[in-house]
Amino acid sequence: MTDLWAGFAEAARLLITLDPDLTAIALRSLQVTLCALVIACAIALPLAAFLSVKRFRWRRAVIALLNALMGLPPVVVGLVVYVLLSRSGPLGVLGLLFTPSAMIIAQVIIIVPLIASVAHQSLRELWAEYHDLLISLNTTQCQRIVALLWDGRRALLTAALAGFGRGIGEVGAIMIVGGNIDNVTRVMTTAIALETGKGNFALALGLGFVLIALAILVNLAIHWLSRTETGRQW
């Protein structure tokens, strides 16, 4: 019990003094996840708009697949990416294993289905609203997608934030493909796992607080966005 209290006190000190180890790890986390988020959005948002606008044969199957992939265990994603990137794997020549790039790849795979799925929910509704007008105006498929992405940007930001939340808190996959190497691939979640194992609660708790703060911020942002959405403000 005293250990824990000492841990809290020390964690507070690390946070207040902006301990270099702690900030480096937190910044690395942000870097990896933001990078993954940008790439994932570039894939998932147009995909979601495309699935809303275009009726094709395998549309339902693709949507079902996306929903299924949302439940993919991150550890398994980590394993698959590991196998692909390992020296003897098909992408081994790239030498990406145990680098931040590998972690970004894993996170992209984990959050693309989530973002695409959440985005598709709202874009589908928007398309039902816009359908008649955009068909009547003789728009091309591409113009329809652009209109949905632009006018649905609030909802899309919410989807992106959900993806960010999932990415930043993820531990299983990036542990496997990143290797949790100090100063290279150690991020908040993997550091917490490691330090807790070592009994070094101070750093673990300090990072834990940062993670919780980020999670709260993201939720507040989503809440605020959904309020402005229903309030119809611009």
Partner: protein
């Protein structure tokens, strides 16, 4: 100079959904100037007919021929829906959108949008979200957005349903101006006063079929069928 869009010739056109016939077979020739009014009881197929002519409701039988190729014909028409569709943008951006689609520059589209905002009495609401407008304002905005590209043919699906006298008059003024500028109008309405004020000729639909057509004076003063007579008298016609 581009060739005339009309006449439009429709032969044996039918629209079916899930095996059920919604309208047709319809034979129709549309030409000339002015306003054609489509009237008939609820569910008669007025909206379906307008959408079929516009090409956003697929025909299951029959032919529909414009005086120009179909894709060009489509670009020269506009449609105002029974429930006006508002883009989740400002009033001004709603107006500018069709122009931007046609390749107008941002500044040209904005200038035209401002002119139209003034014309429909929304100059103080230009930057407001279109979604928060009142129903009458939305209808006017939808009409202005359709007219801003100066279409040769305009479809209107009950443009003044549930509007008060002032808003209805505003809409009719805009319409008369457009007609004077050479736009051909086909309009469904339940407002017989409006029909009398605007119509050059009338199509009376019943049960998905054209029950009676005629020029406005003939139709309103001397309807030939008992159903049209009953409908004009305000009786319930199924």
């Amino acid at each position: 100079m581009v060739g005339a869009l009309l006449p439009l010739t429709v032969r044996g056109a039918q629209v079916r959904r899930r095996g059920k016939r919604l309208i047709g077979p319809i034979d129709l020739v549309l030409d000339g100037q002015g306003v054609t009014i489509v009237i008939g009881p609820n569910g008669a197929g007025k909206s379906t007919l307008l959408q079929m002519l516009h090409g956003i409701n697929r025909m299951s039988h029959g032919t529909l021929n414009w005086a120009v190729p179909a894709d060009e014909a489509r670009r020269r028409q506009a449609f105002v829906f029974q429930n006006p569709v508002m883009l989740r943008r400002s009033v001004q951006d709603n107006l500018a959108y069709p122009l931007r689609l046609n390749g107008a520059s941002r500044s040209a589209a904005r200038a035209a949008a401002q002119t139209w905002c003034t014309r429909i009495g929304l100059e103080t609401a230009q930057t407001r979200a279109a979604m928060v407008l009142s129903r009458g304002e939305k209808q006017k905005l939808a009409l202005a957005r359709a007219l801003i590209t100066t279409p040769d043919l305009l479809f209107l699906d009950e443009p003044s349903a549930s509007l008060d006298g002032g808003a209805t008059r505003d809409i009719e003024t805009l319409l008369k101006q457009a007609v004077a500028d050479g736009t051909r109008v086909i309009m469904a309405t339940h407002d017989m006063g409006q029909a009398r004020r605007l119509a050059r000729d009338v199509i009376f639909l019943r049960g998905g079929l054209i029950h009676e057509t005629g020029t406005a004076p003939d139709f309103f003063d001397a309807p030939r069928t008992p159903e049209a007579r009953a409908f004009l008298a305000g009786d319930i016609v199924e």
